[in-house]
Symmetry: D3
Subunit: 311 residues, 6 copies
């Protein structure tokens, strides 16, 4: 994703952590992969899709009560994007927005935009490697409302860019109702995103979210006032935003920064710094860390520091 | 709406800001309108409805994929209240509460209570003038779950007042499930209300909310303990409550006050004051401001002050 | 529920408060009941079910528009567990998870696990006695999404224990979508639980929640980082957790403790202590109190203390 | 219904049989009622509606499994036409023709056309008095697809007369699919009609059916060739048409005539005559009979005659 | 089934044809089985169920697009009666008769009435052995609306016998709408029944149908007039009734008789005789035939005879 | 369609009638078109589709209540085959066969088989030119269950030919339930087919139907006995089969023949001959006729002859 917000938000691509971020869980020699996943490579998609099918087949066999669901959503489809289009269409349809219409829309959008498909694959890899409760790729594809909300958003974002705004907004609205995740179609979201639990996430119109960001539930990337214009946060690569954090205004959260749960952030947070509290204060960060917080999901390593800071 | 909670919550009707609040976006000489919208005037309803139809017609033409939806929800209806009744019925119905039953209920309630219709119109005007992301009246009518939740609440409130409590509670429950907005039917809500994003809003039984109030998502107007009785907040006219704010107990938030995002408020907030933090502290306010925060949507002008206060 | 986390989390069973906790609202001589409700007694179930039917019958008569709903959900069923199974199945079904499949699953699970049924009864008694807005047992059974989410979780928990993990996770996902309550099936939840309003509650995989706990909406019992293992909070009996509180990591909230609304808790809270703020501080507690906060629902008695503490 | 086809199709109103035809089953002194039911009287509607409600209430009490259905379809409604509109809307709706839209249409049509309501009442009385398998008025209202198809047709006929042809044809199509009864909206159908079993009935565009006619299943009133114009049968008052009979072309079946099951009729049948066979022959009739065959439902009294005729 | 209509309708159990009728298609030594299938034996049920599962598994593997359907309807169920109950409930449900209610009803009825289950098995064997277009047991179970209509009828018949008449009639009505097969719940239907194609079959209240009867589509077993009482046909064992045949009145069609397509039968037909034409004439029969026509499905062997007869 | 049954069933392509059969209703100089519609030409498809859209647009404007339906089914689609796929999918879907799955299937089949699309266009032209009640192409596309059943059959036929038999049979079953039209997927059906009214049509496995055939409702092309093999009728080009006719066995109905309503045909009918009665007799035909009866829809010109024959 092309971040418009400049360098500080970008992770340093030569930093050792990039070598292994989001590498497939089982890949041992990921260190030789300089940038993973490669942009719009089809390789990951095939591999992830084969994993999903294998998981679904295993579960269908072990659990007959779920087999019909698994065949309908995964095993009857020739590709990940068909499966995803089917699943989203059946989740987001309503009595006035029929599933066939949405299915058509998702199939066409995913076919026309390989980057949207690649981002979905990166999100699956992210959930699998970052969330210890993630039982598999199929689990994420089928059950993570955060994952599904982001995929629907990416299609809405494409529509928005094509000036099909009424349709984009209708999609946003269905996602907000069905998944309780409200992302404005104009917001630019990177790849390798994990919206964990996801309920209540709100991301505003001019927000930008980098790659490999992890956002917990109840997080707001909100605006200020009713002025039109660039008024929402810019979130750098590899950022971790804890549950219930509220970030307001056109502030910059630098690459590799961490925002504590429940924080209210109204100021810029420099790269690899941690902001906590209401209102949020900066409490520094361990510069030597190899792993980006958006990937380590380390919510609480600042506790000691925080205690120090506060007392 | 008749506020039971006395004068401090009411905005001063002679204050210059009232002259232009909620005036239709395009109206230039609104200054001569002393109180807008006039109670139960049909003029705004007609004007807003004609706008909605024009927007829907424009979108239906530009986006064939959405035309069926727009005809079903807007263009096939003779009036705003029919359109609203249809849309709510199809959103809130379930396998055990059929859409035709709900449609009947909404049509009858809206027909019998012009003030409920007038309040819906005021809410549409509020969303249009306060929310920069609001793409039009039709966008709000069709896609804002906060708007829809409030309209359903008003019908539930009417039922509650008629001692049809089981039905009112069933309606509350459907709204809580479908829109993730939980407003007790007994709560009294004014007009010109904007529930922005709306996910997770909870408003308790004895809460009172004045006119022209803006409430962001995750806001709680909650009770304290399990005592029966008047135990929820009273929110004055023109108040702005930021995302994730929690206001607990029978406290009074004065007209034109502002509650910062993520605040936990357990105390009264005087008119035109700002409360921030957890627990919330008062950090004053600019008395000279002409515009009520509930309308300016200015969430963050207190940052400077806050910083001052804190440091 | 067998708490694995040891004594401090357990309430002292000889403490006088236990004598009357969760006793049926109308029972006068509950003091002689040493432990209520008795494990897996059928007595409460029968009594509560007869109350529910009486309430539903009264409402069906008074409100013809609701009669069909009440007959479908309550009055056509021979027992509470059938009614509950029906209601859950129709709430949680989707186009790919049919209601008959879910109904089968709930009927079989409730029949095979009397403790799940008994816990549902205890939850109904809890809502009735603790929530002043609860209009009756039927109101809770039919309309409280927190109640329904917990019952569905208990079935998912049983499935998880039987290594039917894919089905358990699918159930969790449906509950997260429909009720916006996300409880990992592995989490151990006691009985006499009140999830009030419930929107946005998140409870992680290794969390343990004792008996007679009250949890308001937007509460997170979350993990830390992406390490596998015991990483979520342990909540003792009788704890009250206020709206929007975030408790992270394998911390212990002792029996009878209170967590203030909006608090971010990263530390242990001793029994009968109160934690408030972000980050949360301990502000003591009244040791002489007879009633557990999880039952008194007293959210704000600490305000005086807090003010003292803070200033 | 104003028959356009002249006197021979009309029953002689002074004939003694009219005195008691279609009188309410329990009415003893019906002989004094010269013409029953009186055109557009509201008296029968009230009486029948009170019977329906009494039957539904009795059944709901005796059969809890059906109570929800009976409340939804009958007992929650204030009038017969509301009940009928609800039932038809929920039967005929589809994913592209929503129930609320159809409900609106039926409510409006029935309100505006008392004669359509009166004809529905006459049909209910006809089914009750002629069909020995009819267990009650509610049974007919709820379960007879012939009854429901005719009521929907009457609304389509009204729409056709108002030149709302596309909607009338859409309604015809839904009736043909749902009830397997295909009546062109232009066809003119009298009152006191019994379509017994009804599957496969086809009635063409220029067909006219008098009052008090009984038509069994698989009956065709069909056209000839592809010429436009008056090309379908004219069926007089009180006619009985047996199962599987096919009547083709602009032929006249006189008042009180009988058409045997399986007959293929291409010729006029004089009043009170019987036509049987393929091709149909006239085999006379008992002129002294007091009761019209359309009301006596005597399908087989001609057997003896027929045997005579054949041998 | 206990035929009330006496001996002539019963097939002679010592007749050689009984030795092999309805024997399982693959059974070679069926000749030694004197009466097949044995009443209420569980053996056939197990065998047929294992065949159905094998067929469904084969088809699910070969046709992923159908796998979800096959798992939902067959492969997720532990027994034939559960599968049947599920399938019927999902076919016959409507917006006012929920699938869970019907499922409950079918599960309970099939569990309580082994003879209903045994008759279903006999019907499956009948379709498999008599209908050359029957591709397998699963094909019949899932796709034959005649089979499904008869099974639903048997449950309605049980309800009727229990005086649960309103529910029985509601079931009849749903079957008539969904399958276009209208069988009065009081009608007594034997086992080993094949309703081939089934559209338009009508069977009246006092009709009795023996065992091993084959009835084509559009067949009417109708009454005469509106007299209450025993007024419908009695069909003997092994009878074959051709497409579109209409049999009216309390006539007896003897065991092994054949009724030609399109016939209108108003007279008794002696055992092993053939009736054809409109009105039907007897044209004799081959007395030496070993196989009952209801099983041989030989519709047209009478053509030669008929020609003879006619010319 | 390649008729396997040899020349007598084929119409003479040099015969003058072919020059104008099925020409578009408004084309005046159709005489110069030697064979219409040209096989698999795209020209007709474009023309018909533009007509359909124009009709739908006109109706949507005139009838707002139908606009949503018309946009969903016609106006939002880029081509006739997409519209048809959408409409069929939404008609034929069930709780266990989702609309998206069927939509996928129809889209893929229509895209891969231009001849299926061309046949659909020919059917639309046939209905428009032969059925005086046909109000337009859109009327036929949207409302004629005979038309929709035939299109679904063609897709099932393609599946059958690909040995996807389970899916083909499932499709047949849904068509039989939804439209009451039961066509075995193996049956070979030509183009320019009109199934008028269509209820109850049954066409067996080895039946063959030529081009430009018109078949009324309740018509059976049935087999004889339970022998496997070629056992169903062969219907030549341009044949007209009247309502309720039953044709049994491997008989040949020659090109341009006519079968009277209610006939039972067990014998070959020579080209341009008429068969009527039960059992059917040949009553000659007018050899000089220019127009095929399948196109003139002249059901009753034989009446005079018949009368002569009979008397």
């Amino acid at each position: 994703m092309a971040m418009t917000a400049g360098q500080p938000l970008r992770a340093d691509p030569t930093h050792p952590q990039w070598a292994r971020r989001s590498s497939p869980p089982a890949a041992l020699d990921a260190g030789v992969v300089p940038s993973y996943p490669p942009p719009e490579s089809d390789g990951d998609e095939s591999w992830v899709w084969s994993q999903i099918k294998a998981e679904a087949r295993r579960d269908a066999e072990a659990e007959p009560a779920l087999a019909s669901f698994l065949y309908a959503t995964v095993l009857s489809h020739p590709s990940l994007d068909r499966s995803l289009a089917f699943h989203l269409a059946n989740k987001l349809c309503s009595s006035t927005l029929l599933s066939t219409l949405l299915y058509d829309l998702f199939v066409a959008s995913l076919a026309a935009h390989p980057s949207v498909r690649a981002a979905a694959v990166a999100d699956l890899l992210a959930a699998r490697s970052r969330d210890p409760a993630c039982a598999g790729f199929a689990h994420c594809l089928l059950n993570y409302k955060g994952f599904l909300a982001v995929q629907a958003h990416r299609v809405a974002h494409v529509l928005w860019a094509q000036s099909r705004r009424a349709l984009a907004l209708a999609l946003q609205s269905r996602v907000a109702e069905v998944f309780a995740v409200d992302i404005h179609p104009a917001a630019a979201i990177g790849k390798g995103i994990l919206l964990d639990h996801a309920t209540g996430v709100v991301i505003g119109e001019t927000a930008v979210v980098g790659d490999n960001v992890s956002i917990l539930h109840h997080v707001t990337l909100g605006g200020t006032g009713k002025a039109v214009g660039d008024r929402h946060p810019k979130i750098g690569d590899g950022v971790l935003i804890g549950a219930g954090a509220t970030i307001l205004g056109n502030v910059r959260i630098g690459a590799g920064a961490k925002v504590g749960a429940g924080s209210v952030v109204l100021i810029d947070v420099p790269p690899r710094n941690t902001a906590v509290g209401n209102p949020a204060r900066l409490i520094g960060g361990k510069k030597g860390e190899d792993v980006m917080p958006g990937e380590s999901m380390d919510h609480t390593s600042f506790i000691q520091q925080w205690s120090d800071y506060i007392i």
